[in-house]
């Protein structure tokens, strides 16, 4: 989850016995179109096997592909969201035999992809280059029956469902700019957020509409890139981090043992937490790419590209920056990541716009609005008023919390009235100061420990003040008063 990542991604580094990891990610996403890339049968997940099929999907003799305009538009959208250049592109045939590949070739963009040369900024100002994003068709789904639980090896036979065959995919290829597992996870989370934001894909890794392959190598900083291995079957953000970490450790261990890395495709096993050899480069297929003669050039005119560009929504990074501005916090602060992830950033800004305090609103929304969606039930004005009472010192944080709880429960309400009904009114500082002095006088040993630097001794003193004020004192204010008195005492 992005919030756990953000705060750390810019700081932490990964090295093992002096080696650093060099990682590039290839992400396949299924586009949110109604129909397939080259035919008019539905692009729908979870239907009865082989019900979304047509002559093109099955690769029947005589069938011909016709490109889906919406798939091109969504590819342009996500390309532009990644600051790519949209260019004249062509389709090629990648020839290989596999039962879930109906024509025995995959139609894919090869030497002329539609999107090139972009980048993705991770929370915490790390930029990962995007080499290309190209359109291609998905394969069908094989189920391996018999043998040991769905594994290919030792299975008795396989069953094939072509519903997924021909579903539009975009393959997004990053540059090898990633250096830590945290960055890799942040890249996948951020890419996912962008895909969802622009409506290109629902990007559900658990449903396979977003799939990650990782190219991992290790090297001594400044040295040439090492031999890389491609890790497949990484099905969650968490396993992206685990798989990369394991693979880098494996490679370092081999190098340390004086062995050399062989370029190969490896398979991440979620269960044993290891990667296993799938194919080595030697027995790599000869795909015999050539331009698809049944399709023509796709060359979006500038007018179309600009229309798509202007229709792009504000992207997560920009929204976080906006919220950071308004609240004076870091763009990768946890509250900002969480609230933006929940699409509640606009609400927080609206509260500020209604005369509320953005910082307090951010905290309240993060803490109290987890169950609420993009449009929380609490009227903007009500939360705005609550935050005003807080910063005017009319309510302590603790009181505000209780008032908000009631406001949320009733889907709104006047903070002032509720506070009054609860008999809250913030005590003025002189009253508080005398209560603090009483507490100090009442517990001299706690006081001397506190002055000697024993932080926990403060608890007893704060507790006493709270007791004396029947829970209404502002904890922060009490702490502040105790600290100033200590500083004076030991000066």
């Amino acid at each position: 989850m992005s919030q756990t990542v953000g705060a750390t991604v810019s700081e932490e580094t990964w090295t093992l016995r002096g080696y650093e990891m060099v990682v590039g990610l290839e992400v396949h996403v299924e586009l949110a179109t109604r129909t397939k890339l080259f035919s008019a049968s539905p692009n729908r997940f979870g239907d009865e096997p082989n019900t979304n099929i047509d002559p093109v999907t099955l690769g029947l003799p005589g069938a011909l592909p016709v490109l889906n305009r919406q798939a091109v538009e969504l590819a342009m959208r996500l390309g532009l969201a990644l600051d790519c250049t949209v260019q004249r592109s062509t389709f090629a045939r990648k020839n290989y035999f596999y039962p879930d590949m109906p024509k025995a070739y995959q139609i894919s963009q090869y030497d002329e992809p539609i999107c090139v040369d972009g980048w993705l900024d991770l929370p915490g100002s790390i930029r990962v280059g995007i080499e290309r994003a190209h359109l291609e068709e998905d394969t069908g789904k094989s189920t391996h029956v018999g043998g040991t639980g769905g594994r290919i090896h030792g299975s008795d036979f396989s069953l094939i469902d072509f519903n997924r065959a021909g579903v539009p995919l975009v393959e997004i290829v990053s540059r090898p700019d990633i250096r830590t597992p945290e960055q890799a996870k942040a890249y996948v989370s951020e890419l996912r957020a962008i895909l969802v934001a622009v409506g290109a894909s629902d990007a559900k890794m658990e449903e396979g509409s977003m799939r990650v392959d990782a190219n991992v190598s290790v090297r001594l900083p400044g040295a040439e890139f090492g031999t890389r291995c491609e890790i497949k079957n990484v099905n969650s953000v968490r396993s992206v981090g685990r798989a990369i970490e394991y693979e880098a450790q494996r490679q370092v261990a081999m190098l340390e043992a004086g062995e050399s890395i062989r370029q190969e495709t490896r398979h991440w096993d979620e269960n044993d937490g290891r990667t296993h050899t799938l194919r080595s480069k030697e027995d790599a297929d000869d795909y015999r790419y050539f331009q698809e003669p049944d399709l023509v050039v796709v060359d979006p005119d500038p007018e179309w590209i600009e229309r798509v560009r202007w229709a792009l929504p504000v992207l997560p990074a920009a929204r976080r920056a906006r919220l950071a501005d308004a609240t004076g916090q870091r763009a990768d602060a946890e509250a900002i990541l969480v609230v933006t992830d929940r699409d509640q950033d606009a609400y927080v800004l609206a509260v500020a716009g209604a005369g509320g305090d953005a910082g307090r609103a951010l905290v309240h929304v993060k803490e109290a609005f987890a169950e609420q969606g993009e449009r929380p039930s609490v009227p903007v004005a009500d939360l705005a008023k609550l935050t005003r009472l807080e910063i005017d010192g009319k309510l302590t944080a603790t009181q505000a919390k209780q008032v908000l709880a009631e406001i949320v429960a009733n889907g709104g309400g006047d903070a002032e009235a509720i506070a009054a009904s609860k008999g809250f009114e913030a005590m003025d500082t002189s009253e508080l100061e005398s209560k603090v002095d009483d507490a100090i006088a009442a517990q001299p040993e706690a006081w001397s420990k506190f002055c000697a630097g024993e932080a926990k001794a403060m608890g007893a003193l704060v507790g006493a003040v709270m007791k004396a004020s029947s829970g209404q004192a502002d904890g922060k204010a009490v702490t502040a008063l105790l600290e100033t008195r200590r500083d004076i005492a030991i000066a």
Partner: protein, 483 residues
């Protein structure tokens, strides 16, 4: 109304049949029965068909006669019996490409041309034999046996659309459809003495045509006259959104120009045409130029330096595309399968058993031409030669409106003459190949006879979408053909 019903005692042609049926002069049923009778009489010797659809055709004829009786117009091809090359998909009806690998397969959909023929009121009488997957020039490479030339059954009908050419020459159908990838319509038309047309690439939809070489394949008509061929072309041409390479334009309108003559047309003679035409064929070509000059055309010499490289470009490009197009015959989803312990073994067994020798040869040649390390030297170079050839033709058309060449270097050869040596068979396509590479239209029209009194076909080539001037020239040659 141009009438050709007197021609060699054949049943009436397309124009007469549709006119008579539409105007209730004859019934579609009578017309059909005459053709079915011709099939009964000679199909045993000729083997033009993989399947004759007598019952379906009779039902369809009745449908058309009812329509006419009810005062509805069945369309421009009303009641016209037409034969389809067996590489065009017909819903629920076997479509084999004369290959064991598709034996028993019934497509769940119709090719666009089949739908268009239906809408025009035509009657499909059967599906015709071909060289397996249209790879060949004699219709001897068929899993179901060779087709013989109706003019001399010891001779080949040419290929790969030999069955469609023979069906028309034998009066089994008033017209037929073939597919032309390197000459597969024009060469058999020449050898069987009928008219055969390869339209501009993209003018007739390829949807439902089982692909051989996608960037070269084009469907076109066979008929006993230029006028009949024009009517069929008009019915099957026009844009189709199911084919991305289909040209955005309406159907051709060539019939009305057939009587315009050639006065003022510039007819090009290719000075550097590759050698290889036999003397009898060369003589007919000279006479064809004379005939057009007499008709008021201007004969001009042009040069097409890259013409001769067409054969090489074609035999690298077509097999390359074919190797990919034919990969889908893997025994998984349809057609033939030979069971084996694992999928890879099943692929091997199925394809090795299901494909014939020539198809395997071309798949291997094409796979080689595309494979790592050879792409640039073979496929890549061939694509550049293709561009060079197109440029040479464009230049030639600056000074000529149409070009004339032989359609085939020789008249029909004997069965077995060229089966031993693939290259000798490939050379049959020398004159027809270039227009597939360029995408330009070309047609073959009968013009007298050569050795052993066998028919000679003259090929007329024109720039893309200039079918009307090509047909005008063809009609003139037809009028002036030696009787």
């Amino acid at each position: 109304m141009p009438t050709n019903s007197d021609r060699q005692g054949l049943p009436a042609g397309v124009a007469d049949i549709s006119w008579n049926v539409r105007n209730n002069v004859t019934s579609a049923a009578d017309v059909l029965e005459r053709h079915l009778a011709a099939i009964d009489a000679r199909e045993g010797d000729i083997h033009a068909f993989n399947i004759v659809l007598a019952d379906e055709a009779r039902l369809r004829a009745a449908e058309i006669d009812e329509a006419v009786a009810a005062g509805r117009d069945p369309g421009p091809l009303a009641g016209v019996p037409i034969a389809l090359k067996d590489n065009m998909c017909t819903r629920g009806i076997p479509t084999t490409c004369s290959s064991r690998i598709l034996d028993g397969w019934r497509p769940p959909y119709d090719a666009t041309v089949v739908t268009k023929l239906h809408e025009a009121g035509a009657i499909v009488v059967g599906k015709t034999n071909l060289d397996e997957f249209a790879m060949g020039s004699s219709t001897e490479n068929s899993a179901f046996g060779a087709t013989r030339n109706p003019r001399d059954i010891t001779r080949v009908p040419g290929g790969s659309s030999g069955g469609s050419a023979a069906a028309v020459a034998a009066g089994f159908a008033a017209a037929s459809l073939g597919s032309d990838t390197g000459g597969s319509i024009r060469q058999p038309a020449a050898l069987c003495g009928v008219v055969g047309v390869k339209p501009t690439y993209g003018a007739v939809s390829r949807y439902g045509l089982v692909a051989f070489a996608s960037s070269l394949d084009q469907i076109g008509p066979f008929a006993n006259s230029v006028g009949d061929a024009a009517l069929v072309l008009e019915a099957i041409s026009g844009h189709d959104q199911m084919d991305s390479t289909s040209i955005r334009r309406g159907p051709f309108e060539v019939s009305r120009q057939l009587d315009m003559g050639v006065a003022g047309l510039r007819i090009g003679r290719i000075a550097d045409l590759p050698e290889g035409a036999s003397p009898d064929v060369a003589a007919r070509l000279d006479e064809a130029f004379d005939a057009l000059r007499d008709a008021g055309a201007e004969i001009v010499d042009v040069e097409v330096p890259a013409f001769g490289y067409g054969l090489t470009a074609y035999y690298l490009i077509a097999p390359a595309e074919a190797s990919s197009n034919l990969a889908r015959y893997d025994g998984v989803r349809f057609g033939h399968r030979v069971e084996a312990p694992d999928t890879n073994a099943m692929y091997m067994a199925t394809r090795t058993d299901g494909f014939g020798a020539e198809v395997k040869r071309r798949i291997m040649l094409g796979t080689y031409a595309l494979s790592a390390g050879y792409y640039d030297a073979y496929y890549g170079r061939a694509l550049k030669v293709r561009r060079r050839i197109a440029a040479d033709f464009a230049a030639a058309y600056a000074s000529a409106d149409v070009l004339l060449t032989p359609a085939s270097p020789t008249v029909a050869f004997r069965l077995g003459d060229k089966t031993a040596d693939p290259m000798s068979m490939y050379l049959c396509d020398t004159y027809t190949i270039p227009s597939n590479l360029t995408g330009d239209p070309a047609m073959s029209v009968p013009f007298g006879t050569g050795d052993d009194g066998l028919p000679v076909g003259i090929q007329i080539l024109a720039p893309a979408l200039e079918e009307s001037r090509m047909f005008r020239t063809a009609a003139e040659l037809e009028r002036r053909a030696p009787k």
